[in-house]
């Protein structure tokens, strides 16, 4: 299976949100604040008077395009919260005896940077390729083992059925 070239999500253009706040007039002058940012990034602010609102909008848009991405990375808030989560995870493991599960961030809708999202998930592209590692002899042995297992399972099923039928 050929590997597909991975595309960095950070290179894809994101929609830019521009918010224009027009405040009530003070001393016969309206103040305008324009904030602009792509999704998940810290906005850039431009302030001015109402007559300059169009220029402010253009400046904000240009500033967002020119600047480097300002992606917000949110880390674990408090150590106490982290300890509580680890304890809860340990309790669950003790009951189930299952695998360890680490929670990366608080909620699924939490802002996640592209880097953290890529590091926490593994896709088929990240898995190593397996090319012809089994010889024909090993395959025959494997198939024989499979047939043995299936035959023993049938026997046990029949035994269980017989036990259930007995009064």
């Amino acid at each position: 299976m050929a590997k597909k070239p991975t595309k960095s999500a950070s290179n894809e253009p994101k929609p830019i949100t521009i918010i224009v706040n027009i405040f009530p007039p003070r001393k016969d002058k309206r103040r305008v604040v324009v904030s602009a940012a792509p999704e998940g990034e810290m906005p850039v602010l431009f302030e001015g008077l109402f007559p300059d609102r169009h220029a402010l909008l253009d400046q904000a848009f240009a500033a967002v395009l020119k600047r480097d991405p300002q992606i917000v990375t949110v880390k674990e808030s408090t150590p106490k919260a982290a300890e509580k989560k680890s304890k809860a995870a340990d309790d669950d493991d003790a009951e189930q005896g299952g695998e360890e599960v680490e929670e990366s961030v608080e909620a699924s809708d939490q802002l996640v940077t592209v880097e953290s999202a890529e590091s926490n998930t593994t896709s088929d592209e990240d898995l190593p390729e397996i090319e012809g590692d089994a010889s024909s002899d090993e395959e025959a042995k494997f198939e024989a083992q499979l047939s043995d297992i299936s035959s023993t399972e049938i026997e046990t099923d029949e035994e269980v059925g017989n036990d259930g039928e007995q009064d």
Binding site: T17, I19, N21, R31, V33, S35, A37, G40, M42, P43, V44, L45, E47, Q70, V72, T73, V74, K75, S77, A81, E106, A107, D109, Q110, L111
Partner: protein, 59 residues
């Protein structure tokens, strides 16, 4: 003395925005900050408002 907003690892100069106006602005750009927890600190003569998302309760 400047007022700054901090969210995650990023900071933003508030300019003449009030705290309430800053909260509204951040809520519009970051929906998870609709009801933020804001901590006020003074750092090197500047006032830094640190926004964090409040932990929600599981239903």
């Amino acid at each position: 003395m400047a007022n700054k907003i901090k969210y995650g690892d990023r900071e933003l100069d508030m300019g003449d925005l009030s705290l309430e106006q800053a909260k509204q602005l951040m809520a519009r750009h970051f929906p998870e900050l609709a009801d933020p927890q804001v901590d006020r600190k003074e750092v090197k003569g500047d006032v830094v408002y640190t926004f964090t998302k409040k932990a929600g309760r599981k239903g």
